[in-house]
């Protein structure tokens, strides 16, 4: 049978094929990716769209956790200092209610309580990163301002709004407790009780001092309870941090299995492709020059 004498196209196609395999292998080793363009693996590329978005989301959730955590911790420590201030005020009130106490001593205690009041007000007006922590969602202005017309001596400028921040695909945490709920709700009024204790001490009214002290004591319990909300958020955030770390690892490993390469396999492929390529080239260099004419002697 006659064979195709023209081996060049076949040879060329063999060389091109081995070169293209070599190029692919080289690209996989050098980039560490098996999918560079969607056609390399269409379904993996489609899955990567979701993976890209989820990975970025999880990164952002992680950032949200740390930013929310610092806000919550700031608020919690402010409340903790309010609690200790109130504890101090209660013992001062008990001291002031003691009938044997001198009027001048009561005045001195009143001054101390006044100091406590202003410290509590400053905690209630705490601003963290430019926003007032206890103003509800009206966080751009100080929530408590002095107001002589108000019975407590202060007006609440905030609202009852609560912000929740997403820290997971289906998880949000409450990041604030409005001041109206902590300091000035209908049953307990921190600032009002402190103000009335000051007034009672200044006037030396023992019964009023006792009432005010009892109110402060109730407020103290209430504020302590509100701290639990922050405590819950904190523990939720800590748990979520662990989950998000795990999620990041999962997503990264999913991405690797979708578009990454196994380096050992890739390196082996590269070696094989190199061998195949040099074999094709060597074969070509041997085949092309051979013709009968090389063996016929030139007529002299």
């Amino acid at each position: 049978m006659r064979i195709n004498p023209n081996m060049v196209p076949d040879m060329l196609s063999a060389i091109q094929q081995s070169q293209s395999t070599l190029q692919t292998a080289l690209q996989q080793v050098s980039t560490g990716k098996s999918v560079i363009v969607p056609s390399d693996n269409p379904s993996a590329s489609a899955d990567m769209v979701q993976n890209t978005i989820e990975t970025a989301d999880v990164d952002q959730y992680t950032q949200n956790v740390s930013s929310v955590l610092s806000t919550v911790q700031t608020a919690d420590s402010a409340l903790s200092s309010v609690v200790s201030s109130l504890t101090q005020a209660v013992s001062l009130g008990i001291e002031g209610a003691n009938g044997s106490d001198s009027a001048s001593n009561q005045q001195a205690i009143a001054t101390q309580v006044k100091g406590i009041l202003s410290s509590v007000v400053s905690q209630a007006n705490l601003s963290y990163q430019g926003s007032y922590v206890f103003g509800g969602t009206a966080s751009t202005q100080p929530p408590y301002t002095a107001d002589s017309t108000s019975p407590s001596g202060y007006t609440y400028n905030g609202n009852n709004g609560v912000n929740s921040v997403p820290v997971g695909d289906h998880m949000s945490v409450q990041v604030n407790v409005p001041g109206s709920q902590i300091f000035s709700n209908s049953s307990t009024d921190v600032l009002g009780s402190l103000s009335s204790l000051v007034t009672a001490l200044q006037s030396g009214n023992t019964a009023a001092i006792s009432t005010a002290t009892t109110n402060i004591s109730a407020a103290l319990n209430y504020v302590s309870q509100q701290r639990v909300i922050y405590g819950n958020t904190e523990s939720q955030l800590n748990a979520q941090t662990t989950y998000l770390q795990q999620d990041t690892v999962n997503l990264a490993s999913q991405a690797t299995s979708l578009v990454g390469v196994d380096m050992a396999t890739a390196a082996t492929n590269l070696t094989q492709a190199e061998t195949a390529n040099s074999a094709a080239l060597a074969a070509a260099s041997k085949v092309v020059p051979l013709t009968l004419l090389s063996y016929l002697s030139t007529p002299s």
Partner: protein
Amino acid sequence: MSSINASLSIGMQALEATQGALSATSNNIANADTPGYTREVAQFSENQESVSSSGVNGGGVTLSGLQSVRDELLNLQIQQQTSLQSSVDTQSSTLQQLQSYFSSTGGGDIATALSSFSTNLSQLSATPADSGARQGVLSSAQDLANAFNNTSSGLTSAQSDADGQVTQTVAQINTLTSQIAQLNGQLSQMTATGEDGGTVQDQRDELVQQLSTLTGVAITQSSSGETITTGNGSPLVMGNQSFTLQTATGTNGMQQVLNSTGANITSSLQGGQLGGAIQIRDQVIPGFLSQLNTLASQLTASVNAAQAKGFDSNGNAGQDLFSISTNPSNAAATMSVALTNPALVAASSDGSAGSNGNLANLSATLTNSLPSGQTPAAAFASLVFQVGNSASNATAQSTAIGLNLQQLTDQQGSISAVNTNEEATNLMRYQTAYEAAARIISTIQQLSTVTLNMGTSGGY
């Protein structure tokens, strides 16, 4: 007994025939690498023997002609496969270019922009009053709009490239068909006079081969010569007459191909660069574009609806974040961000500047299903899959056809190509034959001398 002169003339004929064969062999060797060349074989035939009273005498040899060795059926198969391959290759090269718009390796694609929009919304919800975070949302919204614009313009520019290719290819087809018709004329004249029009046929086959890379053709042989039509039967060449194709701008702004009678045959053209370009221009890209436009307009509507549910930093109801053309075929190209003031991002659900309540609604636009039934990410992912799959199919098809074509070409080569070893052998054969024929003549000459000198003193 035959005469010495008869032998001389036989020797003479042998010399001429061998010379012809040698010239065919040299021509084969000379054209060993000429594309489309078909080897020619010298056809010898013995002459009529003469019967005389003294017996039967051989009549010598004649070179009856040169026969080119070709397989028409194989040529036809090669032309068909070539058409298919060049169609697939045309589509593949466009799809390969398009892929960059759907690959997240370089960034700037819609997936990356969607993820950045999502994270910026999430970041803003941690610090709703922060103008930097608000600016971040606007910038990422801008990036998202740009990504839609770029992807759309990538698709439309590939489409208009394909459109340009249609016009160019039609012009090339017309040039080729007129050349083929001319060669057909020559060929039928040669056939009429009994010549083997090998060279002309080679040229014509080569041109038909070129024509089949441009468009799919159907070839029929008839007594009047070769007839070439497009796949759907519009004539291109009939014998020595060629029919030109024309292009005209259609209602969709794209070039339409008209046959010689002015009928629009665009949608029926298949195969070749022309078929490939039309397929990609009228089917593939419009499919992608319409999905992209649907995604752009539905996402815009969904985000704007979420904006309207909330309030901006100033306590006013949220305004549209994205603006888009009302023409659905232009949606992705015209998507833009309508807001420039970061304060107008409607993060608040209660009208106060520090509220982040509405950001959950905005974020939900990215995770909830659009009216298309898919989330924005899933809709884009499905587009990525389709583009990638089309490109990978086109490449795989091209490889498969390439292998088939290689086999056919090998087969054709085994029949028609010049084997220099074979020709070298022929060269030796004809050389020996020539030498032998020459020896006949010199022998006859010596014999004649002897005969003429008979009876003279010189003797032999």
